[in-house]
Amino acid sequence: MDRVAIVGIGQTKIEASKERQNYPEMVYEAVKLALEDAGVGMDEVDNVVTTSNDFWDGRTISCMPVGGVSGAFDKNISGVEGDGTFGAFYATCRTLSGSYGSTLVTAHGKGSESRSIAPMITNAAFDPVLARSLGLDMTTACALQARKYMQRYGITEEECAQVSVKNHGNALDNPNAQSPMKITVEDVMKSEKIAEPLKALDVSPISDGACCLILANEERAKKFRTKPVWLKGVSFCADAFQLGDRDLSECKPLEQAAAKAYRMAGITDPRKEIDVAEICDAFTYQELMWTEGLGFCKKGEGGKLVTSGATAKDGDIPVNPSGGLLSGHVAIAAGMYRMIEAVRQIRGEAGGMQVKEGVKTALAHGVNGLCGQSHCVWILGSE
């Protein structure tokens, strides 16, 4: 198979409310930044993929207004609904299918437009006939998962709180993060209880932002001025849908996606071979669960992993040096923001977030659906 590289990245700052822009304008900003980064114009982009969600945007055909701003006027274009990592996957397929040499892919979310009714948006993920009238949303569903996971392995709320402390602290070095904060475990423990065991500082915000990647196959990558960041492995996988059909303390689809991605990348010891990971920590407990699912530690030892400092910026397996979702969560774009941060690390352009010199291999992760039902794992490399 031909190789694919990320040759351009662009993102807006993640903010609570971007009153100066509507969502197509945010996408335009990200696209312009990506083209500037890559040092090319739209004539070097062969086709476009957009990633959006009709519920979060409050628009049927939510991809309709972002085609033009993504430069797709006289080009082939398609649309994915789901996290940006999935959009990037489809963009990768289009770059490898023989039809196009380069693909631009965008993702966006403007949570500020629906903040007061966010529970309704995720409540709509529940089956309308069997479960919707019970009134659950993402937060209460994830509270069920958090409780089950923590009970099974004896994970404590303090260990989860440590994730919040680490990530908000990491965000102090991220000029694009929404909420960098210097907090303590006690601050998290004292924050307002939402649905046990989740408290306000265990929960990511709902933010505004847009981001963009430009992909190119190996031959075409030479036309772009950036150091290419290569796709080494990618896979995704979905669990059963109904919460009762799943063991919420397990994340088998993540394990399967990770195993496939590692196999593609030739990785046999992820903890040793991955230099940095950007994963979706929509809730503190999820960072612990996902680090276990990715094989950074044994099952049930996610709590020990974070308290040992291993996942700190200077640890042996840094996780979310950007501050993660806890410091700014753009629904739908979240996974693509993770990919961009991973690219920065490999390029050595992460500024204060840079975990070390010579990052060779980075992992980026995205989720879709309730309680991490569907996961997408990306392995990116410097060569």
Binding site: M1, D2, N22, P24, N53, D54, F55, G58, R59, T60, I61, C63, M64, P65, G67, G68, A72, F73, D74, K75, N76, I77, S78, G79, V80, E81, G82, F86, F89, Y90, T92, C93, R94, T95, L96, S97, G98, S99, I121, T122, A124, A125, D127, P128, V129, S235, F236, C237, A238, D239, A240, F241, K252, P253, A257, N368, G369, L370, Q373, S374
Partner: protein, 386 residues
Amino acid sequence: MGKRAAIIGTGQTYCKSIRRDVNGQELINEAVTRALQDAELTIDDIDGVVIGNMDHFEGINYVDCWSIDGSGGYMKPTMKLCTGGTTGTTLGIGGYHMVASGMFDKLLVIGWEKNSESDTTGAIVTATDPILDRGVMAGALAGLAIEASEYAAAYGATSKDAARVSVRDRKHACNNPYAHLRKEVTIEEVLSSPVISDPLRLLDMCPRTDGACAVIYANEDVAEKLCPQPAWVVGTSNRHCYSRFADIKGQTGMLSLTTAAKELWAKTGVKEPLKEIDVMEMYQPYSWGGLIWFEDMGFCKKGEGPKYIWDGVTDMGGECPVNPSGGVISTNPIGATGLIRCAEIAGQIMGKAGDRQVPDVELALATGFGGCFWSDMILYSKNKPA
């Protein structure tokens, strides 16, 4: 450098205004079961699932995750594509790229819609920009009515010409057991049906339907081993050149379709579409499209569409039959509609089209249209591309 890819199996549900007997997941499962049977595969043989529909029509978020019960996507890669009305052909194009890339060998692609579950106009209106357009926009029809008016004014085509297209499609549908509307209509009936948005009358328009369609794409590593006559993809192209409905500003045709067609013919080497294409399933949600878009794609000169329609060129038995399935005017479960075009073409190439089979099909075209003036085109062939 990209693999060649084909459809190796298809499945459709029986379509009705309201499929009361099943919920959405069960509807999806019907199409999936039939596609697997057609390809003689089990769900365990499938490497991934791609699905699409228009969210607001059923009011379900994260449909790729919700549909697992019916799609067979349990512990498989599952993803959703959606581009509005063109979702079905977007899926037909997406399935192709995903297996051609080598990321999957055998991919299940599903399009579905349970239009009966929502107020279609209410759901469609949210496609409009809330600040600039929504206050003055009314559903999907206005744009088409304007296109028809502009075209008629420029070329002198009449409602009777358009009605002949409806008569054709509704007659063809009588050969299709899966179609929603299976009763012929006459020119007089079309011309006396109620006006919805001048000059469009009820019988110029497509219905709302509950239905699902599934196809299985495979790349050349496995396609020929699994299927005696795969429907190979020769090329795809699409355009979406409008951000707002007002962008159609005085055009006598579909700009996105005209430019997509130019690209497709150039990259596939088709010089005379009318001569070279043996059958077409056109995403034609209204009768006038059968005149205007036939011209826009280069099957004849601008303004000459009516002559070809009246001469029977596009009827069964004609030089280039259009919509042997009855087309969108007879069946329209939106998320599935475009994919049904692909499935019907695959059936034509495989020789499995039953009473709607066109003889000696070698090259065949499926097109997609979306209410935001999105145009998709996919060219399929009996022969493996060079």
